[in-house]
């Protein structure tokens, strides 16, 4: 078991190197000189060659590319993501302020999706081809197709028009001011949750149907087990194993899903920070966030693998 974990961690190292190299390179081959861009962005007009030189020195841009990469990776691992090119503030500090907001939306949406989507998927599969299944499937595909940001815009429109309601401004931590916090995050969480419900319901339904066609289910029925025993003890247990692991693997996508909802509801989380950074080509922030996403993706993948093995005794780690 310990060997397995060690091997799994070692195997993900090349991917991590590749992924960090990718997000490093994407932003280093930006056309134009970053130092020039920063100075011209501030003052407007052409930058002095002398000050460009100084800034390049300061940012370490005149060092060889591989040195820049290694320094960046090493600093990022220690949690030092450099300073924002736009505001000059510490990127790590900025992340610490904003991550809680994004995590609240992402986990809230995921939680909603799991507690509604999985039961819906189970119901749909048990009642396959009945009207319940039909309605459930159509709803799921509809939720999958409606753009979340459009629902957000409509919610704001109806809120302001009919109820004179606006989401509270500024961040109120849930432990300090729970009601304001909930008012602020309710809609992004609900909208993200709707999408997650659809994904989880479809996944659960197809896994259930697959297991229900297995021979051992036929055997269970043939030996006269009650239907609820067949469903709950034999089908559900096996069908949910891949569902649980896929929930872990898709965590990164849930985080990506908050980006546009944060923009719609004016939540100053990682998403809005990322969008701003993209607009201003603030590559330290973009790189930093991509680094966090890549590392957590790999970590959650390993966790998913372990959970899979833990839930399914047929998998051995030898």
């Amino acid at each position: 078991m310990r060997n397995y974990i060690a091997r799994r961690v070692l195997l993900s190292i090349p991917t991590l190197i590749g992924a960090t190299l990718l997000c490093f390179l994407i932003l280093r081959v930006i056309p134009g000189d970053v130092a020039e861009m920063i100075l011209e962005g501030e003052g407007g007009g052409l930058a002095q060659p002398r000050s460009v030189e100084i800034l390049r020195e300061e940012l370490g841009l005149n060092r060889p590319l591989h040195v820049q990469y290694l320094t960046w990776v090493w600093n990022s691992i220690r949690g030092d993501f450099g300073t924002s090119l736009q505001t000059g503030r510490s990127v790590g500090g900025e992340f610490a302020l904003r991550l809680p907001l994004t995590i609240e939306i992402a986990l809230g949406g995921l939680f909603l999706g799991v507690i509604t989507g999985i039961p819906l998927g189970i119901l749909s599969a048990i009642k396959q081809d009945s009207w319940i299944d039909y309605v459930g499937r159509v709803m799921a595909i509809l939720f999958l197709s409606i753009p979340g940001f459009w629902i957000g815009v409509l919610v704001l429109l109806i809120g302001v028009r009919s109820f004179n309601w606006m989401p509270p401004i500024g961040y109120n931590p849930i432990w300090a001011n729970p009601i304001t916090n909930i008012l602020q995050f309710m809609w992004p969480i609900l909208i993200l949750g709707l999408h997650q419900t659809a994904i989880k319901a479809r996944l659960t339904r197809s896994q259930m149907l697959e297991v229900m066609r297995e021979d051992y289910i036929r055997t269970a029925r043939a030996k006269g087990l009650a239907e609820h025993v067949v469903i709950w003890r034999h089908t559900l247990k096996n069908a949910l194993i891949p569902v649980v692991t896929i929930v872990f693997i898709q965590l990164g996508h849930v985080f990506a899903g908050t980006v546009i909802l944060e923009a719609v509801f004016n939540v100053s989380g990682m998403g809005t920070l990322f969008i701003e950074a993209i607009r201003f080509r603030d590559y330290t922030i973009v790189q930093g966030y991509l680094f966090i996403i890549a590392v957590s993706f790999l970590v959650f993948n390993i966790i998913a693998d372990l959970v899979y093995g833990w839930l399914d005794p047929r998998i051995s780690y030898s």
């Binding site: 509809l142 973009v286 991509l290």
Partner: protein, 306 residues
């Protein structure tokens, strides 16, 4: 993956009925569509909508009364009515016209991007799976790297690098999209290449290129087309999101996503400006998803009935 429906393939029809190849293909497509309409009404509805919307996009100038960029300040922010079916925006541009032209933009981006990306991933997947060995391992590790990031974040980072523009958007979609499909296709190839008929082709001296192109690639087309349809839905949605954020289609092209963000400040007095473009996105994505699901049900025997 098995052949979709033995009796309906053009070859089978041509053998039985002594029709020309052209006619056999037409008949096969006709029969297949008829079956889809009977067995999968929702998927067929999706297909009908896609065809109708594509036709309107192609013939946009013929079915719209105004130009998409024509401004008329005398009719600013008019509510939907006889002259302007879906109302006008704050430059007095006709919303119905702009939505139809928006379909042109969205569809062309989606089709060009998905076609390029899927051709690339088909080639990579077949090659990687058939050649095997360290080449395969290297390619799959590279695919892993791309799959580490949720596509939309990587696309946004690429846009920061490349700048905003339709061509750049398509490049970003292709770069970020190939890996997933290439993996699926490679997986298919691994099981196909051990078939006896591949061995037979090899033993009569067929070249690697010929085996890949003639004997392996056609067997992967069913899952490929399913992913193709799903990707169309995905890209329409992603493009709309990016355009909403100002990172997608640049002005003056009418784009549904940007129409929504431009309309937001006017939404109070002119709600039609946020309702109809969003509805257009939803219907498009829904149609592609419904059609994709139907394809999956019909073609993937393992998933039948899901």
């Amino acid at each position: 993956m098995q052949q979709p429906t033995g009796e309906l393939t053009p070859v089978a029809i041509a053998e039985k009925t002594a029709l020309s190849a052209m006619q056999a293909w037409a008949l096969a497509i006709w029969k297949w569509t008829k079956r889809l309409y009977i067995k999968k009404p929702l998927g067929a509805a999706g297909l009908s909508f896609i065809l109708l919307a594509s036709l309107s996009a192609i013939f946009a100038p013929l079915i719209t009364p105004y130009g998409p960029l024509v401004q008329d300040y005398t009719v600013r922010l008019t509510a939907p009515g006889a002259a302007h079916w879906l109302g006008t925006d704050d430059y007095g541009r006709d919303l119905y016209t702009r939505i139809v032209y928006g379909a042109r933009i969205s569809l062309s981006i989606a089709i060009v991007a998905v076609f390029t990306e899927k051709l690339l991933s088909l080639a990579v997947g077949v090659f990687s799976g058939y050649i095997g060995g360290w080449v395969d391992m290297l390619i799959m590790r590279i695919a892993d790297i791309f799959l580490t990031f949720p596509a939309i974040l990587l696309i946004m980072a690429l846009i920061a690098m490349l700048g905003v523009g339709i061509d750049k958007l398509i490049i970003a979609f292709v770069i970020t999209g190939w890996a997933g499909t290439a993996r699926v296709i490679r997986g298919q190839v691994l099981s196909i290449k051990n078939n006896d008929y591949v061995e037979a082709a090899r033993s009569i001296g067929a070249s690697k290129g010929r085996i890949m192109l003639r004997h392996i690639m056609p067997q992967t087309l069913a899952p490929w087309l399913i992913l193709f349809s799903a990707a169309l839905a995905n890209i329409v949605l992603t493009e709309a999101s990016l355009s909403y954020l100002g990172l997608g289609v640049p002005p003056p092209h009418p784009s549904w996503g940007r129409m929504l963000s431009e309309a937001a400040p006017r939404a109070m007095s002119a709600p039609w400006l946020v309702i109809f473009p969003g509805l257009a996105i939803t219907l498009f994505v829904l149609a592609f998803n419904l059609f994709g699901d139907a394809l999956r049900d019909v073609w993937d025997p393992r998933l039948r009935g899901r």
